[in-house]
Symmetry: C2
Subunit: 577 residues, 2 copies
């Protein structure tokens, strides 16, 4: 029933295959990582013909389970040199699942300078010359919609992906056909660009939810699950009303909001770039603005509000917390309208807002701009689409910008930029940044839960004790959640309400006719991590890479004046069990 679609960019062959046993029972991150680990030579050139780009919905994709239509993208990362999974909301995940596509595997590469788009429909796949080469995501999608219509969903890269920049993202359209959801991290867009694939058009016509083994049990579990989400204060109240930006004021209060390139943990302008302000401005301006907007069908948390300009016109999606942080506190900028513009520009040219935003702060650290120079940042961001030298540097993110400007305080692990939680004041996050096979990543083991939000228990964020176990357990759980296609934000409910996890297992069993227990979920998470770690080892990434840069260990971080003091031996114990 489910098929794997192999698309060879050199021969243009598109072949549907049965799912081989090695890939059965997997979805999302579990599937992309397994395919990459098995099929991509670990030492191969990330932008070369031996790398593969894998796009896969999760195990619960294409069902009426809430928030289950995330889509995973996997490859060897041109940014970290290791395995990469980046996932996204938007419509394509659900559409792929409904078409019965377990995974799309993009192989080899088109001749340099040739660009294609992939037309996908029920049992059909075809590569045709791209109509939208040279366009950024918004224009590209608008033009594709003209041809293919509003019922399709779209996957695309902007100019950054065409330039194969190391922070290039892949855009996925939301319900209103905006390319505003992104598989952002690790340069997955550069890999898509290296293949010569500009866009994927997914026509869901004749697609449908696949049969459930036990519909009654599934629906009952889905209801329990939805209830758990709705009733949780973060999932049911915080996220819809304030988006992920709800975290700005919280992290400021906690003294863990990295400000001016990780120099201090509180930003005097935090209120101006907070979720509360997003909510207030969106309501005041009205027009196209939306509070509580879902990025994909079946979303009931609806964190992705729509931000209107002063005239009420659509200006962009609500910037995520990490985006607000990168361009806001970390760059010393407190202008919400400007940050919304940056966010739109990043979505349009197709780059990761974390790595590019944090790179803006490095340009400030280098003295190219001053901290707080919002106009300068705007101009600099505009350079990415031009492909100018400075734009390319910026579009490669934190590590490359740090290298080119000879900087010492470069917040990165394995070449990927650190997100919005200082590892000295939210130490569980520091452990995750250092040890996840993905390079510095907040979602891979989101210790903000117990460190800051008292969700799933409480672990003092400033103490070195308890962080290893916290990060380990979260990394295992996350690898499993990312395999289901569930939005990671369900974790808030799952961590606080034991029945939410049971409901997920019940849905998996009812869908596939399995009899998994809770332990199987943990085992799945461990297996996914082991697969990823093994690839990284074969790629030459060994445990000394699981370290934070010196300055987090050397410099005391105000206001708590703590350093990152988890020992190397402790870090080396995180992903061992």
């Amino acid at each position: 029933m489910y098929k794997i679609l192999r698309v060879n960019m050199a021969t243009k062959n598109c072949v549907f295959e049965d799912v081989p046993p090695d890939y059965a029972g997997l979805g999302g991150r579990g599937l992309t990582s397994t395919i990459v680990a098995k099929e991509v030579p670990a030492t191969s050139t990330p932008l070369g013909p031996h790398n593969k780009l894998v796009i896969a919905p999760g195990l619960l994709g294409g069902t009426n389970c809430a928030n289950s239509n995330r889509v995973s993208v996997g490859c060897k990362s041109p940014m970290t040199g290791g395995i990469k999974e980046a996932n996204s909301g938007g419509q394509p995940g659900g559409h792929l699942a409904k078409l019965g596509i377990h995974a799309v595997i993009i192989e080899d590469m088109a001749p340099e300078g040739e660009w294609y788009q992939l037309e996908l429909g029920k049992d059909s796949a075809k590569l045709v010359p791209s109509l939208v080469t040279g366009l950024n995501n918004y224009d590209a999608v608008a033009k594709l919609v003209e041809k293919y219509g509003k019922e399709c969903s779209y996957v695309s890269i902007g100019r950054a992906g065409e330039f194969k920049l190391a922070a290039a993202s892949i855009a996925f359209t939301d319900r209103e056909l905006r390319p505003a959801r992104h598989a952002g991290r690790g340069g997955v867009g550069a890999v898509m660009g290296s293949k010569g694939l500009k866009a994927v058009i997914i026509n869901p016509a004749e697609g449908k939810n696949l049969p459930l083994d036990n519909p009654e049990a599934f629906n009952a579990a889905a209801k329990r699950f939805a209830k758990a989400l709705t009733e949780h204060p973060v999932c049911g109240q915080g996220l819809p009303n304030y988006g992920t930006a709800v975290l700005v004021n919280i992290l400021h209060e906690a003294g863990g909001l990295p400000t001016r390139n990780f120099s201090t943990g509180r930003f005097e302008g935090h209120e101006s770039v907070s979720g509360e302000m997003l909510n207030q401005i969106t309501k005041e301006r009205g027009g196209d603005g939306v509070v509580a907007h879902g990025c994909m069908s079946g979303c009931i948390m609806r964190c992705s509000g729509i931000y209107p300009d002063k005239n009420g016109k659509f200006m962009g999606k609500w910037p995520e917390y990490e985006t607000l942080w990168a361009f806001g506190p970390n760059s010393g900028i407190d202008d919400l309208d400007m940050i919304a513009r940056y966010d739109y520009m990043c979505d349009d040219v197709g780059v990761d807002t974390i790595d590019v935003g944090a790179a803006i702060a490095l340009f400030m650290e280098a003295g190219v701009l001053k901290f707080g120079d919002a106009e300068g940042a705007l101009k600099l961001l505009g350079e990415i689409s031009q492909g100018s030298p400075i734009g390319r540097i910026l579009g490669c993110g934190v590590a490359i910008t740090g290298k080119v400007y000879g900087l010492r305080r470069v917040p990165e692990v394995k070449g990927q930029g650190l997100p919005a939680y200082d590892p000295r004041a939210v130490k569980g996050q520091g452990v995750t940044y250092a040890t996840t096979p993905m390079g510095a990543d907040h979602t891979a083991g989101y210790a903000v839960t117990a460190n800051i939000l008292s969700v799933g228990g409480t672990v003092d964020p400033l103490s070195s004790s308890g962080q290893v176990e916290l990060s380990r357990n979260l990394q295992i759980a996350t690898a499993a959640v990312d395999t289901t296609g569930l939005c990671l934000f369900v974790a808030f409910a799952v961590l606080d309400n034991p029945d939410a996890l049971v409901a997920i297992v019940d849905m998996l069993n009812a869908r596939y006719g399995l009899s998994l227990g809770l332990d199987d979920v943990t085992a799945l998470g461990k297996t996914v991590l082991e697969t990823e770690l093994d690839f990284n080892r074969r790629a030459g990434i060994s445990s000394p890479s699981d370290r934070l840069p010196d300055f987090f260990k050397d410099e005391k971080f105000p206001p708590h004046n703590t350093t990152f003091d988890i020992t190397d031996a402790e870090l080396d114990s995180v992903l061992k069990w």
Copy 2:
């Protein structure tokens, strides 16, 4: 008698210390690598306070042994992330040795934006604010000579080092006070820049050759050694007459001269950029031109001719073979005068000609310039000193340029650019590039000897057999030679004339009152390599890093249409014994 000088850039303390037992009996690369491995935390930030810059003459430095005054520079490399030793000719090596300085260890860093110069004399060392900040090497040295005089020698960085660019070099003055000899590779100049150290002034007054344990035996051995050099056709004829550029026509003939970014092995314009042409033009133009010029006192091979312009005025040193290759065949440029200008510019701004020259070819591969665009290359090179974004990219070398321009055919290993011998047509070199702890480096195990020159035996350069053993033995021997302070070019004589090596051992014994045998030299080489490999392992560089980029394995290389086919298992066996 010998002392270690520790210079702390934060406290400005300069302290002479007795040589601790761990460092006794070592010099040059053996000493710098041992100090770095022992004192620098392997995972530390290369441009941070925990890295150290070590400058050390060799075991035979400051004697009347021919060609023994090379100087080694060691640190953790900002380019490779691993251990680095780069060595140079020029006068400072001999001066340091005569002052009884076993090694200078530069520690910690000055406050950002402060620049110092180190005044060194007999038993004295002092950091003073630099007079030459912001100047490139030629102007800086000229100004320093005004103050400190012509008897001193000078070590300096240009703007590239101030910018902490990953391909920044450290300049050492030759006998005529030209900053034309460089510790070029791996970004040692960026580490010097990160410390806030702009220059070192070495006043050799009151310095002298240190006492020899057995002067008679030493002098006898030194004579035998000098004779072996003089009588060898490469050392005694090829190098003085044609410089290292003698190799251009040879590699062209062999089909191993990488042309237009490693696309083919022969360059139609090879004659124009050959050693024969250097010799001819230098003689024709006369004036300041010199054929057979030694870069340091005691040199009898004199490969570093002086290139005159059309009016006979000094234009630069004779470009080395690798410099001619990088800007010539590999960039499609056949204009010798232009390449001499590039070489001078690189010496002046202070960058490695290999990594920067090969990066020029990448700008051509990316379409920023056309192959063969000599004027475009000149303009681009000029950008380094400006610190413009494109200049900084270029000044970071091959790996960063490849990343920023999203290229696939990027000739680098461990972040360092491949030199002038294609690994598909000179396979022993390929083995060395892949496996040396230094990142792609030709000197670390110069298999061109047996592969191309029939020196030290003959190993078919196109066959995969015999290359592992060849590279292994050369890497061991080179680690030992680099420890003595001998110019690596003595290897030609050593490989062909057994007495040359015996003479070296005799000199070591006669100088230090030892009774080393030939096996001890091999053991020393192995120990040095083990020290370096251990540092790299602790820095996170594991065996999958010992690989060439895919395109050397995928693309057949004309004219022999060979690929690099040494297996991974063979590569992993190279540095095991």
